[in-house]
């Protein structure tokens, strides 16, 4: 009952009036940015990193947790009401959700998404509370060689599996690692990549890097490609569900949860694959197959649950191993670092109360999302009328403020602009952002583990594979790296066989680096079912 009593202590911390207030702020803010176009939870947490200089770690993380879950929720609202999924994880929700809304069932679609998110989030968080300590128990027994291998795996998995081009993923990773090198070498005290500039000797502040890549780069990118044609939002009142809707929703919720959590916990698992799998499962199991494609409630309930369960799953490796597997987790990890808290298996021991308060606040945040947001849905829809100039000027304004307040020096703003321009360029040329951020955050830690490993083995490289776990992980790494070749060989031996699901990780294309971006399809699936997600409202032009 160790977990239970720790969790209760966590609730006691999280429910103090101040911390509860931060949870409310986080949830409301998270939902707002989830709804607003162009803003996501990763960017919001990045913009809020400066508060970590004054706020207690516990309060800050309670707020960040609220933003994380709130952002997931807000994303589903826009995909249902507008058919513009902001996050790749809500692409699937838009398929049936928007059809339901068009058929006058927006209230039910929003309700099943919200309640499903709550159910899945709560179960997912409970699984996190149970699994994370087990993972930790296993992880603390690992030595530097295994830990080095795990981090290499995390970096390579995110780089090679996510995104559509492995080559561009590795390019992004390389840039991130190079940025991570800047500053004083921790062992010999030599300045690396500082070019004699004393302001660089402490390294680039992770706050500045995260804000530059996620906020400045994104704002400039969107500004260059502003959508001009207004979209039409489907008017909605208070979300609610009838008896029949409940009956049809509860099983998809549970199935979605089961699919979502493990995928979220895997490095590079993400939320896209489980939401898609959930959609396919529900389509197969439903008693109303004729409704699919026209607004079936199961097609909203399942993927939304999978999405939120995956969000909870993502936090397992983040808290237990210090390995972020998506952008928001990466920025949260940056917040740990800026508090001087060492993420990793020791986290549960050294910062036990903080971690358990964070987990407790996830339960609270989930509950708050349900009670605050069900009545507020019509209000959130109004938020979409905010004129863009204010939105994007506001992002730049707060990005500048945040980066400047780190050291109060204009030099940081120059770096902000340079890295912002880099973020812009990466979006323009299809270099994924996540490997870069992971490279910046994990790079120095990987180097540290490497040096420790070889120090223990007195310089013998065999020390790297001196632990069985490490060997096992290197085998997985090898498989990931050789995957395209293996697939090619397999396809050649069975020429007409279709792969299990078309383009699951999109890297499985015959030549992964030749992505001909015909339609700029942000999600990795090529299934015909998903064609409906393409924006239909974009074709409106001036009438002659």
């Amino acid at each position: 009952m160790d977990v239970f009593s720790s969790l209760m202590d966590g609730f006691a911390t999280a429910l103090t009036p101040m911390n509860f207030l931060y949870a409310v702020i986080g949830v409301v803010l998270g939902t707002a940015v989830g709804v607003l176009p162009g803003l996501g939870p990763a960017m919001t947490v990045a913009l809020l990193l400066p508060v970590t200089y004054v706020l207690e770690p516990t309060s800050a993380f309670i707020m960040f947790a609220g933003i994380y879950y709130g952002g997931m929720y807000g994303g589903s609202t826009t995909s249902i009401l507008l058919n513009t999924p902001g996050e790749s994880s809500s692409v699937v929700t838009a398929i049936e959700g928007n059809k339901m809304a068009k058929a006058g069932r927006a209230a039910q679609a929003l309700a099943t998404a919200a309640i499903g998110s709550f159910v899945a989030g709560t179960i997912g968080t409970a699984l996190l509370a149970v699994c994370a300590p087990i993972v930790v128990k296993f992880a603390v027994s690992l030595g530097s060689p295994s830990y080095f291998a795990i981090m290499v795996l995390a970096l390579l998995a995110v780089t090679a599996v996510l995104g559509s081009s492995r080559l561009r993923g590795f390019a992004s990773l390389g840039l991130g690692l190079a940025i991570g090198l800047v500053g004083m070498d921790s062992v010999t005290g030599q300045a690396r990549l500082t070019f004699g500039q004393p302001l660089l000797s402490d390294g680039l502040d992770i706050v500045v890097v995260a804000v530059a890549i996620f906020a400045v780069g994104e704002a400039l990118w969107v500004a260059a490609h502003l959508r001009r044609t207004p979209l039409h939002i489907i008017p909605v009142g208070q979300p609610w569900m009838g008896k029949e809707d409940w009956k049809r929703s509860w099983k998809p919720w549970l199935r979605g949860t089961v699919l979502g959590f493990p995928f979220g916990a895997l490095p590079a698992g993400g939320a896209e694959i489980p939401t898609f799998l959930s959609y396919v499962t529900e389509k197969r199991l439903t008693k109303h197959p004729e409704e699919f494609g026209k607004g079936a409630i199961e097609g909203v309930a399942g993927p939304e649950a999978a999405n939120n369960a995956a969000a909870a799953g993502t936090l397992t490796p983040m808290l237990a191993l210090g390995l972020p597997t998506n952008a928001t987790a990466a920025v949260m990890l940056a917040a740990f670092t800026s508090y001087g808290i060492q993420p990793g298996p020791q986290l549960f021991e050294s910062e036990g109360p903080l971690v358990w308060a964070l987990i407790a606040s996830l339960f609270i945040g989930n509950f708050l999302l349900l009670v605050i947001n069900l009545p507020l849905a019509p209000l959130w829809a109004k938020l979409l009328q905010l004129p863009r100039p204010y939105l994007y000027a506001g992002i730049l304004f707060f990005a500048t403020l945040g980066a400047y307040s780190v050291n109060l020096q204009a030099f940081d703003l120059v770096i902000l602009l340079v890295l912002g321009a880099l973020g812009f360029m990466m979006r323009r040329f299809g270099l994924p952002v996540l490997p870069l951020i992971l490279g910046v955050i994990l790079g120095p830690r990987v180097e540290g583990q490497l040096r420790k490993t070889l120090q223990l083995s007195a310089g013998d490289p065999a020390g790297l594979w001196s632990e069985p776990i490490a060997v096992g992980i290197y085998v997985i790494v090898a498989i990931i790296l050789a995957w395209p070749l293996l697939l090619k060989a397999w396809r050649r031996s069975r020429p007409q066989a279709e792969p299990a699901f078309a383009g699951m990780p999109a890297t499985s294309e015959a030549d992964p680096d030749r992505t001909d971006a015909g339609g700029a399809n942000p999600h990795p699936f090529d299934d015909r079912d998903l064609d409906t997600t393409r924006n239909t409202a974009a074709g409106r032009q001036e009438r002659p």
Binding site: P37, L82, T84, R227, R228, T229, P230, L231, H232, I233, A381, L384, Q385, L386, P387, R388, P389, R540, E542, R543, P544
Partner: protein, 133 residues
């Protein structure tokens, strides 16, 4: 010679359209309906939906009025779109809908109606929304 009407999907906009149709019927002129959006927000409720525009076009066709329905989205505000159309079609009447604005609201938000009234080179007919009593 023509009549320009600034249209919004709202009671004021509908009132303006009705008034414009009455005028056009009388004088049998070209009626230009302008429903513009600055296009600066993801969602703009002042931008009429496809079905609504189709409905207006059908109605005007039935009435036998020569007409043009335009939905410009060029980043300009509604007033300059209406004024531009008035100049282009050498309008002899502009019809707009009015709604109540507080002085402070006018200062902050600006007033489309005021700008059209002040800058138009032809008579302006300003109508209010029909009262529902």
């Amino acid at each position: 010679m023509s009549i320009i009407v600034g249209y919004l999907p709202s009671p004021e906009g509908t009132a303006a359209l009705e008034a414009a149709i009455t005028q056009a019927r009388k004088d049998a002129k070209l009626l230009v309906v302008i429903n513009s959006s600055r296009g600066d927000a993801l969602v703009d409720k002042r931008y009429a939906e496809n079905e609504e525009i189709a409905g207006i076009e059908e109605r005007l066709k039935k009435e036998g009025i020569e007409h043009l329905v335009q939905q410009p989205v060029r980043g300009n505000d509604a007033a300059s779109e209406v004024l531009q159309a008035a100049e282009q079609h050498r309008a002899d009447l502009i019809v707009i809908g009015l709604r109540r604005r507080t002085p402070v609201g006018k200062l902050i938000m600006g007033s489309t109606a005021q700008q059209i009234l002040l800058e138009a080179g032809c008579p302006v007919l300003a109508v209010k929304a029909a009262h529902q009593s």
